[in-house]
Subunit: 338 residues, 2 copies
DNA sequence: CTGTTAGCGCGTTCAT
DNA sequence: ATGAACGCGCTAACAG
């Protein structure tokens, strides 16, 4: 079928080793043999079998990014960031999705599969902490996201607490008093760590301001999608007419909020302020432009890669100690807050 | 370092073959040996080396989706679609980006790399037709997108012409006369086939309506991003005050259009109608909700996989004839048109 | 400057 | 029911 190095070697009257050397520019090869090899390869339409090389070399020069789903803009932006950062070292990035299927999460985390890569960046947003705890991947892995991660993993996250506090404090300062947290969670809830932590930040802002925390404005949501944000606002307005602010725990959610509010008589930001979290590219073009929290993704990505490379380069007998890092969040004021 | 099948075999006092049989549930193995093998594997923390299996089997059970960049929502949604469609057959999807770097396009298209996969779905949006013409991939490949693709590839595209015609006709019927096409192209332009084809659809709608085609309202754009859409509208309004409609060739672009218009005194859709193309999930939540063209992505994805599987299953000596398919587009009227 | 030997880890084939 | 031999395609190490 497809020709191998040996086929080329025979055709050129040399050994497979020489073909390998010519094609990879290694070793000193005579000009005439080089020519023979090259034309033989061209004639046969030879193409390297990377699988064989990977097996032989024990490395794939490929890093995997594992995310829940690529139709969430946040992960798409992350994928571009990592791809760019990997360019200089000549490595490839491949992205795999778990689609939040329980078995897929497990299979995406499957050691065997991960071993196809030199290293793995894993976004464990929807993975249950207990499952993470039992993972024993044999590949270098850096965890990303807001779950609680066991110490034996490197972990890079954004500053959920501080970001949420900043967002809420900003709206309190500009006059909001009844700020709902969409996608929030009560401390005892079995939801994502992200939701709980951001809710704690929201509470902290109220306390810092010396105001009572409006616990009735915590709105848990099964997922931070625009549709659920839209629906939630409609329900919320039905019985909480005094709402004057919304902290949506993600920008996607906020998009749904803006859409729902635009169908009411309430003005944004005059009557209700809205703020998101993620600073997606698209958020600069909502109507009005979305105020949000920038989670320091560039820092996150850079640090995550640094930690991953440290693991990859580490000698097996002297494994580096693990680091847990938090990228600084910052407030981005645009048109949905005053 | 990591243990192999042979290590497990020794530990269990059997042959590697038996370990393989136990772990893959193949062949009939005695209950007692099965137990010994399984506990030996567990103790050693054994994990399959997929690279070796791939080399041996000559297949990877993995399909690649190659896209320009994942921070364009369209490709993220496509990735989820294909991943879902591949579930039933137990195959994996991995996504690679080209990031529109010339060398990366070539390297992503590199035969050697593609051969890591059983099949490749390639979205060639930003690839120059001449480059495509020279490709001789040795893997099953199905092309997606709007470039002109040589006959020797299977190709699935959306109905750019018909979609654009529908979009424009809709706005003409509802009273617009001066409809700009953002991201359009003149016939002789060296831009993407998508831009040219959609511009032809836009023209056709004018002609169908018996109206003169406003060639001055063709606005070429280097990329269909929200930012460029935003900028373009501002420029456009500066010298074409009589504008009463905008056909943005993608939804992302339309997002920027809506943002720019919201900063003017012009009302959407009362003064200016706006329509996009792609029917992204996010477009349901713009303000107002975006009217758009649904490109029949589900059909596209299903057909693309059908063609790919046909290639994968084809016997080498009886290669199937290639198909070029066009998914039907449909109009989705929401709040930005009347 | 080039060839030989060997083996990466697995699974197919054919024995037993 | 289990094992031995062999090879998938490539490259590192050592000849010569």
């Amino acid at each position: 079928m497809t020709s191998t190095m040996n086929d080329v070697a025979k055709a050129a009257g040399v050994s497979a080793m020489t073909v390998s050397n010519v094609l990879n520019g290694r070793g000193r090869v005579g000009a005439s043999t080089r020519d023979r090899v090259e034309s033989a390869a061209a004639e046969l339409g030879y193409s390297l079998n990377l699988t064989a090389r990977h097996l032989r070399e024990g490395r794939t020069h490929t890093i995997a990014l594992v995310v829940p789903q690529l139709d969430h803009a946040y992960f798409g932006e992350l994928a571009v960031r990592f791809d760019r950062l990997l360019q200089p070292s000549g490595r490839h990035l491949v992205v795999e999705q778990t689609l939040a299927r329980p078995e897929a999460e497990r299979s995406a985390l499957d050691f065997a599969r991960l071993r196809l890569y030199d290293g793995v960046l894993m976004s464990v947003v929807s993975l249950h902490p207990d499952e993470v705890a039992h993972l024993r991947p044999g590949v270098p892995v850096v965890m990303l996201g807001e779950q609680e991660i066991p110490d034996r993993f490197d972990h890079v996250r954004m500053s959920n607490f501080e970001g949420a506090r900043l967002a809420t404090a900003h709206m309190l300062q500009t006059g909001s008093r009844r700020i709902a947290i969409l996608g929030g969670a009560h401390d005892h809830d079995e939801t994502s760590g992200m939701a709980r932590t951001r809710t704690r930040g929201w509470r902290a802002a109220y306390r810092d301001a010396g105001a009572a925390v409006p616990e009735d404005l915590i709105v848990p949501l099964p997922a931070p999608t625009a549709q659920l944000g839209y629906d939630a606002v409609q329900r919320l307005l039905a019985d909480r007419a005094d709402l004057d602010g919304v902290f949506a725990v993600t920008d996607s959610l906020a998009t749904g909020v803006l859409s729902a509010l635009s169908e009411t008589s309430l003005r944004v930001p005059a009557d209700v302020q809205v703020i998101g979290f993620d600073d997606l590219e698209a958020s600069r073009f909502t109507v009005p432009p979305l105020s949000t929290i920038s989670p320091g993704d560039e820092v996150m990505a850079t640090e995550a890669l640094r930690l991953l490379d440290r693991l990859i380069d580490a000698s097996p007998d002297a494994p580096p100690t693990r680091e847990h890092l938090t990228a600084p969040a910052s407030l981005v004021v645009r048109g949905t807050t005053r």
